[in-house]
Amino acid sequence: MEKKIVSLKQQGLTLKQIAEQLDMPIGKVQYAWRKWRSQNGEPAQPVSIPKRKTERKTSMIPKPKPVPASSMKQQVASTMQHELPVQSPLLDQGPEGFWKLPDRYNQDLMHAVVQSPNAVYVFWEVSDSVKETLSMQFMRPWEDLPKGFRILDITLLDYASGHANRSYTFELPEMTNSWFVRPLDPNTTYVFEFGIRTMEGEFLPLLASAPIDTPRAEPAGHGRFAEPVRRWQYGEVESPELLDTLPKYSAYRFVR
């Protein structure tokens, strides 16, 4: 099928015409054509279905950078449904053809680990589809959206309520995917967020870490944990009202 598409394209047909002729969704035709081009060394062009009069507007979508065939393949493998993943996400190749650690996994994730009572290490990643959604929403390339980081002190609060005892937001350099957050206060519950600063100056969080407690650094006396510990110890609550840093993970937690 790919050959047929390439052959028709080389005869000068538009992708839409090919789609009609082969009775295929245009997305598939487009995909096959892009794949062929990138594998055959032609620079990949921005996705452009012949767009009638809207051509000008949709061209505000960032032009995908030319990608080497190997990473192209992986990207497609990880986003295409209908198929089992064809290779491990940890399998990647460097320019010399040898295995290397992947630069990213194309997922939406943010995770924080304690370094000390005053410092937490946070790393994160934003998937291509979230980046693209924002580009489509704000009509600006992802790279042009200013990135920010927010520290929320949610000690004794529920993060989902949206309330925080205090928060601090700062700008992040582009292409940042981890941060040693310091100085923080000991014995405090934090949530960290990565997001963008919108045109109106609002911070729009895209990712949030799970709540994390910084360790105590001095004697607590009878502190905020004493009562929850007592209630749990004496069976007054069914589950402990304490943060568990090693929660059970489910791969399909949203599939019901």
Partner: protein, 733 residues
């Protein structure tokens, strides 16, 4: 007997450095530990022949290397080479002092060999025998010393713990009730897993208790229970410091052997070459001829008799110090005052050459002083009712007391890959468990690769920057092997030979030690085995749905979704969460997800809408691992960006229903928001396979304000499917 107790704990650990190829420098770490620490400690146990109440923790990598015939044979070879070098040295014209020390080494290396062969080259037998005779108690550590506070999932922590216990039990014939947490690193929640795995006690540094909440009445004079009931025995820094500190402790005495001066560096290369690495690398022989001497580079020769004299002095001093310390707390009852002194075993012998003999002498002095030594296990048996329960926050015995060693600018790059392996293991076990014998073996081998990668030693070595390259390479290698085997699993390319090769690379742990179910989540089990198959589904994105119907739009969505479901379609509806409504509901073939936004307090409409779209995409990306979507149907401008992005990434047709447009709702509108919505609406008109518009709108009317094509048509009656069956089918594989 005096009131109070003393408890000595020695933790033996090395990373798994067994390599099939010869002459790996790292393998010498094992030889050094055996010669300087493990056998000398065993000598003391053997000499004293009575219950010492020492607790020896031995980590699974050490257990496995001690049991490995390759390591065993190479160690004997190493001893022979050492004896040969000593013989050559003795044949040279050395000073009297050197000759005396060389005779000492000659005797010592012969004794090492005798002991090693006596235990049939497997020192596990020695430790096991002494434990069974009641001279020592034993515990173990997690599988590869993974740093618990930085693990991502419960499953990984449980796998490390259970695998470690299984491995130890296979070699030692019993399952210990105590465990050594790697780096004494405690994190809230690890105690729950420990308890569930049958572990009743572990060790922490003293600030874990000093800063506990509430502050324990007895400070570090007694262990405490963690919230989930694991007893935490605190390291007493004052007493321990006497031993480990090179500044204030005993090991820095001028008469003790100097660690940093080795014979290899005092001899000509031509002379020593035969005993060095074949590639010309000079390394320590283990023959150290000098004593610490003092704060000087001019080191004097080691005088064995002087060192032995100091051992006696220091053992006596330690007993006196301990006696004073216990007497100062003599009033403590329920439980009596306990001093816990946990150490890295390799401190004794390897770093402090005379350490094992010191421990033996201390045992004798404590008996004379009437100070009772006790194991944590016995302490708990006697005093389990007298311990407080407190909350302990994350802490370790490392530099500065927390995670600085294991997460910093030198080693942070490893973490995201480790977390990826953890979540992949959870997914792979859910998907491939019991699919075939080969798949099961592959899952076990993937766990083996993971645990080898997660060893805290790599981060530790990278922090210290000595042999950093080795640590980084080992981490990369285990990750690569993981990636390659996982790919073979996905591509159905497993074979006995492939699995054997993966195992042979690092033959650590028996398959039976590794329980793949540690990675299974009950929910995933339900999804992969009990949930049953579901047809390819329609993904509906809508700003309004049941419980949140504002106008015609919500009504229309509900009617359409129900009509399609009645026709047999499976429909996934994604809509914003409204307080008071459940986040998930299911009505036969209709799944309703009300998505929570990352921020409930955004002021600007465009940002609220963006937050909704991001939430749709993130959720859909999670669902597509198990749900196959054949089309996306979005309603209203507010769901357009997510729908477009998903249609593109999933390669499925996009349908749009627009009951109104910004320009029809607001014919004289203008301004930034108006323009932005107009642009977004235009984008779906350009890209959707079909756009259905309200019967009240004419295409001409819309076409005056938007660029429309022949993909725009009027809404169909409810009983007609808007999805062109031909197109859907063609799109399916």
């Amino acid at each position: 007997m005096k009131p109070g107790y003393f408890s000595l704990v020695l933790h033996a650990h090395l990373p798994y450095v067994r390599h099939e190829e010869k002459h790996r420098l790292e393998e010498r770490w094992v030889y050094e530990a055996i010669s300087e620490t493990y056998i000398p400690i065993l000598w003391q146990v053997d000499r004293l022949q009575r219950p010492l109440h020492w607790t020896v923790s031995i980590s699974p990598p050490v257990v496995e290397m001690l049991a490995d015939p390759l390591v065993q044979d190479r160690y004997v070879q190493h001893l022979d080479e050492m004896l040969e070098l000593i013989a050559i040295e003795l044949a040279e014209d050395r000073s009297d002092q050197e000759v005396e020390t060389l005779h000492f080494y000659h005797q010592r290396y012969n004794d090492l060999k005798t002991t090693f062969l006596h235990w049939e080259k497997n020192l596990n037998h020695a430790f096991r025998t002494y434990r069974e005779q009641g001279f020592i108690d034993m515990v173990t550590c997690t599988a590869t010393h993974g740093f618990n506070p930085h693990l991502f999932t419960e499953q990984a922590a449980r796998a490390e713990i259970r695998t470690g216990l299984n491995c130890f039990e296979r070699h030692y014939g019993f399952r210990p009730t105590g465990i050594w947490l790697p780096e004494c690193a405690y994190t809230p929640g690890v105690d729950r897993i420990l308890y569930e795995e049958g572990v009743r006690y572990t060790f922490v540094d003293e600030h874990a208790l000093l800063d506990a909440d509430p502050t324990p009445d007895k400070g570090i004079g007694a262990p405490v229970y963690s919230p989930h009931g694991v007893a935490l025995f605190p390291r007493d820094q004052i007493i321990s410091g006497k031993i480990w500190s090179s500044m204030i402790g005993y090991p820095g005495h001028p008469d003790y052997r100097e660690f940093y001066r080795d014979l290899a560096y005092d001899r000509d290369w031509e002379y020593i070459q035969a005993f060095m690495h074949p590639e010309g690398i000079r390394f320590d022989t283990g023959l150290k001829m000098h004593r610490i001497t003092g704060d000087t580079d001019e080191k004097d020769y080691y005088v064995r008799a002087w060192a032995e004299h100091q051992i006696d002095n220091h053992a006596l001093d330690f007993a006196q110090t301990l006696e004073g310390h216990l007497e100062a707390h003599g009033g403590q009852m329920f439980p009596p005052f306990l001093v816990t002194a946990p150490f890295d075993a390799e401190l004794f012998g390897h770093w402090w050459f005379e350490g094992p003999e010191f421990l033996g002498k201390v045992a004798e002095r404590l008996e004379e002083f009437g100070i009772e030594t006790i194991t944590p296990a016995l302490f708990l048996e006697r005093h389990f009712q007298d311990l407080e329960t407190v909350h302990v926050s994350m802490n370790t015995w490392g530099r500065k007391g927390y995670g600085d060693v294991w997460i910093n600018e030198r080693n942070e790059w490893m973490l995201r890959h480790l977390h990826m392996m953890e979540t992949q293991l959870v997914k792979d076990v859910a998907d491939y468990r019991h699919k075939s014998t080969l798949a099961d073996r592959a899952l076990v081998q993937l766990i083996r690769h993971y645990v080898l990668a997660v060893s805290s030693d790599w981060a530790f070595i990278l922090d210290g920057q000595t042999t950093a390259q080795y640590a980084a390479e080992r981490f990369r290698e285990h990750t690569r092997l993981f990636a390659e085997l996982e790919t073979a699993l996905y591509q159905d390319k497993l074979s006995d030979e492939l699995l054997e090769n993966h195992y042979r690379a690092y033959p650590f742990l028996a398959d039976a030690d590794i329980d793949m179910d540690t990675f299974l989540s009950p929910h995933d089990y339900y999804v992969t085995t009990e949930r049953g198959k579901e047809g390819e589904a329609i993904l509906v994105l809508t700003p309004e749905y049941t419980g949140n119907v504002i106008g015609d739009l919500g009504r229309r969505v509900i009617d359409e979704v129900e009509a399609r479901a009645a026709e047999g379609e499976t429909v996934y509806v994604l809509t914003p969460l409204k307080e008071g409504l459940p986040e998930y509901e299911r009505h036969n073939q209709i799944h309703v997800y009300r998505v929570r936004l990352t921020s409930p307090f955004l002021e600007h409409v465009m940002n609220q809408v963006a937050a909704q779209n991001v939430a749709y995409v993130k959720l859909a990306n999670e669902l597509v691992d198990k749900v196959v979507f054949k089309a996306i149907h979005q309603f209203d401008w507010m769901t357009i960006p997510a729908a477009r992005s998903l249609a593109k990434s999933l390669q499925v047709p996009l349908y749009s229903t627009m009951l109104s447009f910004e320009t029809t709702r607001n014919p004289h509108g203008h301004g930034g928001l108006f323009d932005a919505i107009h642009r977004i609406e235009n984008s779906v008109l350009a890209e959707a396979d079909t756009v259905y518009i309200c019967e009240q709108l004419s295409t001409e009317e819309v076409g005056m304000r938007y660029a429309i094509g022949d993909n725009v048509q009027t809404c169909l009656p409810l009983n007609a499917s808007p999805y062109e069956q031909k197109r859907l089918k063609k799109n399916m594989k």
